[in-house]
Symmetry: C2
Subunit: 236 residues, 2 copies
């Protein structure tokens, strides 16, 4: 049977062989939830970059630009890191360059994989469908928070493993633990994440609305895939 594993943090990515894997990068609060939302609202492409200055330089190439550091948006950017920000009409047809604290780092460090999708609860079924079609092993790369594992990305990994039962088997203990954590939390995800440090940090920023939104399952039927340096929606 095909195997699925979970990397809890970009700081552990060196332990995984990506060369033959389909990688799903997840940063539930909020980078990958934002990207999925942007594609659902018609974004043409999204370029994830690690540096703020590099992101700024994309403006002169005709891109809209988006940045977040420590949950906050620096001045002079078109979007903040809220999924509601990407529901604006200006998103339709736009090329967007994005940099965030964790999510874009996780994407760049996973870029050597032959296939890379960006996942969130918002497009869980699209990701499930893509992995059902993929004929090799898979790895979920959790963005975490500054290298540390976090609950919500792990829960997404567990939810995906749960969807793939009978098709993929868990490769290692991290995947097993993610799955167990999801099983415990699945009935009431919002309550489950309320105790998480990351959510407490975000609630301090006044974004309760974002938290609930990012936990919605299958709101959007989009499949962001990395092609070279940019993400495109394979479901358009």
């Amino acid at each position: 049977m095909r195997k699925i594993d979970v990397c809890f943090s970009p700081d552990l990515i060196h332990l995984y062989d990506l060369s033959d894997k389909c990688v799903v990068v997840v940063d539930i609060f909020r980078a990958t939830s934002c990207m999925v939302t942007a594609f659902a609202h018609g974004a043409a492409e999204i370029v994830p970059v690690e540096q703020i200055e590099l992101c700024q330089s994309f403006r002169e190439k005709g891109y809209l630009i988006s940045a977040e550091r420590n949950g906050i948006t620096p001045e002079g950017f078109d979007f903040d890191n809220s999924p509601f920000s990407y529901q604006d009409p200006k998103v339709k047809g736009a090329k967007i360059c994005v940099t965030t604290t964790n999510g874009t780092v996780a994407i760049r460090r996973s870029a050597e994989a032959p296939q890379l999708y960006v996942g969130a609860f918002l497009n869980l079924s699209s990701i499930t469908e893509a992995l059902n079609k993929w004929e090799g092993d898979a790895l979920v790369v959790c963005a975490g928070w500054k290298g540390k594992p976090n609950l919500e990305d792990t829960l997404f990994a567990g939810a995906l493993i749960d969807q793939l039962t009978g098709v993929y088997e868990v490769a290692d203990d991290a995947a097993l633990m993610a799955w167990k954590n999801f099983n415990v939390a699945s009935k009431d995800m919002l309550t489950a994440v309320k105790n998480s440090s990351h959510v407490k940090r975000l609630l301090g920023l006044g974004i309760e609305k974002d938290i609930a939104f990012c936990l919605e399952v299958d709101r959007y039927d989009v499949l962001p895939e990395l092609e070279g340096e940019r993400l495109v929606n394979k479901k358009r």
Copy 2:
């Protein structure tokens, strides 16, 4: 309230500030379970080292020597990495030098902490008691398997957090997830770990007996503490 956190792997240790923490290093299968067993059987001191050659050099200093790589003991050592190996009469009063795949690495990388204990299910209450006395924050460092998180070390971290409820609060999501995983597994730990990759790996080595032994709670009342380069039992 004091805070307790969990580092899932020595490869994430750089993310944690050890300078004011009491660190508990755990490698359930089998390094720290062996060390606890050795102290319970009268070992005078244990020196954990990272390299096999360094370990061998301790023989001429009057030490018994122990080595394990990938679950197997190279030739020419006095002990293998089974807790039953350390129940031999020769352990009483002995100075022992140990090197293992994961556990000794985790100890060495955590050595800068002002206080370091070695924990296992076998001495869970001794560790709990020591942390009740410690007046600052605590960190459980899981040895994992070659940098990857594993189930059994995480379950120990969760068990310890569970014991310390009301005294310590969880510092971050890794601790929260460890605790949840323990709550799910606590009723039947042996069944819970049977699906773990690490246990499957060990069962391939024919050490079923070791697995059950290492999951016994509070068999021994010993407290291995790092003093300089060596571990000593603070409960003798």
